[in-house]
Amino acid sequence: MAEMNTGSGGGHKKKGGKFILTEGGSRAKKVSTRVDMTPMVDLGFLLITFFIFTTTMSKPASMEVNKPSTEKPIEKNEVKESRTMTVLLGKDNQIFYFMGINDPDHKKIPQINITDFSEYGMRKALMEKDKEVRAASGYSDPNMTDYAKNGVVVIIKPCDNSVYKNIVDILDEMKVTGIKSFAWAEVAPVDLTLLEKSNLNK
């Protein structure tokens, strides 16, 4: 421990001794007031470590959603049919998507694809379609002006038997794939009939 220099008048210092006898013959033992703090420090840090490890780190993130105003008339952007991709969220985490517009008067029935939320499912499909659309309209180079404006336009329509996780996942996919033009719409009866006809989402 710490050394003490309280000896006087030629009193010899004892190394590591707790008290020193003086020549005067006084027998009063001078007990050191110092306490060994090492165990206390050990305990202190042990408790800190314990508290840090037992505290659950909750990392809530958030996803911001901006919905268009319901009052102002929605500006009808004329989007080419070939650029539109409708994504229907269905039962049991299924996704049904098709290119083009599902118009009841149209003779052409869109080709429905079924996929899921895995990396090689929806994400791959979105990236491929985006690439295809850009290639078709001649905007394949990211450095071109208007490159951003000419990607695929995704319309997300969650069916009533989909769950909350699905909508979060699909919006997250949009963020991951970097598709800026997408809309969250209510599912139309036309789409439901289409699914029914194709014997899907049952």
Partner: protein, 210 residues
Amino acid sequence: MPKVKVARKSTAIDMTAMCDVAFLLLTFFILTTKFKPKDPVVVDIPSSHGKQIKAKEVVLITVSTDGKAFWDIDNPKVRQSTLEQMAERYKIQFTTEEYTQFRNAGAVGVPMSQLKAWLNLGPDKRNAPGVATGIPKDTVLLGNELGDWLLCSKIAYKVEEKKDAIIAIKGDKSTDYPAIKTVIKTFELRKILRFNFVTSLEGKEDAIVQ
């Protein structure tokens, strides 16, 4: 050969300072730790690549698996202010004691007509299963209590904190979409077009998929 005398130095270090630091840190951690208030419902939130939010200015609307809606704000001042406005709206008088209870009550999941009784249940029974029936919500404004809670919370934040409230939805992974749709419809009716989904931060989950 003369012997070189090396001065013997004590290897012991004075631990007092270190002890001080250790306990100071300990005290700091203990005092700053806030216990998470008990949730009336367990909600398993989905994950996303979103950014983290500060939970300070948030009006949290929790939607449970069975579609019940809960309202929650952390800030006690804003909570009180919200309840004052709700009381005025619904013509219910609350006592000072009830206001004090409300400040620390956690998530609210009962209709206004039962709120008084709910507050008098005491902190233990309040979060018992089956007590919360969910705040009534609808796709129209009339009788839509959730919409009133939102409106009052927005005003309360403006008055008390001079800030805009951040509205966040915390839904369970398996909550049916129609329940979420009703909540979002309520938001739209109250002209809340910008809101957040509370999710957990997606980690390496993606990397694991091959």
